[in-house]
């Protein structure tokens, strides 16, 4: 059993590749973690990447990246479409394997304290780490953005009541792993996808922890989902629910897509659930033996 956590820091630089790579490389300077999926968006003027590894190593890795971003990014010069309050804007920790949400909350607080002390940047806690209910929602914490906080700072969870002159403030927290899952329907009628999406999403009385929308992609109807808690609704459950609805409407399923990365535990749960393999454990996977 090895505790594995994921961290997806977002930084306010999406144009200067030299700066982006300096931040990315700083995260990689901790050799025991894996750092990957660097993405940047020039109109958002923002980049992000993924770090996975043991809790302490991930904390050290993201801290190095944040330190570098603090050196290289000046928020007074930053412009971009995406809301942000700092050079390092938001840092979520996500449990991947053998680790609880509570441990990830603890980790986020440890990082917050370290940043406030060593880098003199005020830190707000959000999502599962929030200390005030209104701060659970990232949009609330970011309201008014860097420019407003420069004039009137809210009381942060760590650090002084004064914003950092160039790096602004940082939002840190813990949240569940999000699985992006799409099902492609054998119809060109987007309304079928919209209708099924409405039927299966939590908002309209469907499956818990499922967000869903209907789109037209490559000429066919697609149900695009965010599974915000696979321990509540995993992708196999979403698939079966959609299959039920398609049968009612006489429409077929072409295929489905898992977009991006997925925790091993989600596959294990899917197999257990679908084939009633009650006793199955990820420890039975041969490769896992070798990797731990």
């Amino acid at each position: 059993m090895q505790k594995i956590v994921e961290c997806v820091p977002n930084f306010s630089e999406g144009k200067d590749l030299k700066i982006i790579n300096h931040i990315f490389d700083a995260a990689k300077s901790i050799k025991s973690v894996r750092v990957f999926e660097l993405e940047y968006n020039t109109s958002h003027n923002r980049c992000l990447f993924t770090i996975v590894g043991s809790p302490d190593d991930v904390l050290n890795s993201v801290f190095e990246a944040i330190k570098k971003a603090t050196e290289l990014i000046d928020m007074n010069k930053h412009q971009g479409e995406h809301p942000r309050i700092g050079a390092t804007d938001v840092v979520p920790f996500v449990p991947v394997s053998d680790i609880t949400m509570k441990e990830c909350v603890k980790l986020s607080k440890k990082l917050g304290e370290k940043i406030a002390t060593e880098l003199k940047i005020p830190v707000f806690l959000y999502e599962a780490s929030a200390t005030k209910p209104e701060n659970r929602n990232l949009a609330n914490v970011r309201k008014g953005e860097y420019e407003r906080l420069k004039i009137k700072m809210n009381k942060p969870d760590y650090g002084s009541n004064k914003i950092h002159p160039t790096a602004g403030a940082i939002v840190i927290g813990a949240r569940k792993y999000l699985i992006a899952y799409n099902v492609n329907l054998d119809t060109t009628d987007v309304n079928v996808a919209k209708q099924i999406a409405k039927k299966i999403r939590e908002k309209d009385g469907g499956l818990k922890a499922v967000k869903a929308l209907g789109f037209k992609v490559d000429g066919f109807a697609q149900i695009s989902m965010n599974l915000i808690d696979y321990e509540v609704t995993n992708f196999d459950m979403a698939y079966r629910e959609i299959e039920k609805e398609t049968k009612k409407l006489g429409v077929g399923i072409i295929n489905s897509e898992i977009y991006g990365m997925i925790p091993l535990e989600s596959l294990v749960k899917t197999v257990k659930n679908t084939f009633k393999v009650d006793s199955f454990k990820s420890e039975q996977i041969l490769e896992k033996k070798l990797w731990e």
Copy 2:
């Protein structure tokens, strides 16, 4: 991508725990592999364990174990219920990930040559490595056992035509990964399990690469299967076929069991197949990123 191979060497010692542990520890002396699932049987007077790792490391690990077994086991004193021809009796290599059967055959031949040269033990090749059709089947190679080969040795693939005076001979080869998979039925009538087993197994015209028998376990009917090539018939396909038969007979499925270890690729294939996730790859599993 990391080539991973499994090796399950069988040794002719199942009573003396000191000797068994010396052999097990010799395999472990190669630090980069994982050695586990040590099993021994006193009436068979035989032990076996599993080694996983990169091809060369696994070869070195199993060679160390074979060398130790050659030192410590005298076949002239060996008695046991299980057929055997040597101190190290049989050594199968099994592809686990990113490695072909052909590469495993090559590996088995490399080991055979090394053993014949360095340890002076004659080696027969079996299964996918066999150079004669009759040697594909292990039972044929082992016919007459150590005692007969002492008097009249067949021509081995490597080494001289004379058996080793204390270690006998060794059978080495490559075979596919075998998944042990059981489905427990909601009936106490073992005949239902026997009937379905007959219907689904290859021998009687059912699913390819499936061996199946019906048993009564803990008072309930069980279909016990060996899936000898999960790339042909994976456990999800066996489950669905059984489900179809149980529905015809009006019997329920209590649960199913994957017995022992399973390659990650079998899970990935199951998920792809069951939920039509055509594009899904094991590289999308977060933990895999970290482990490679």
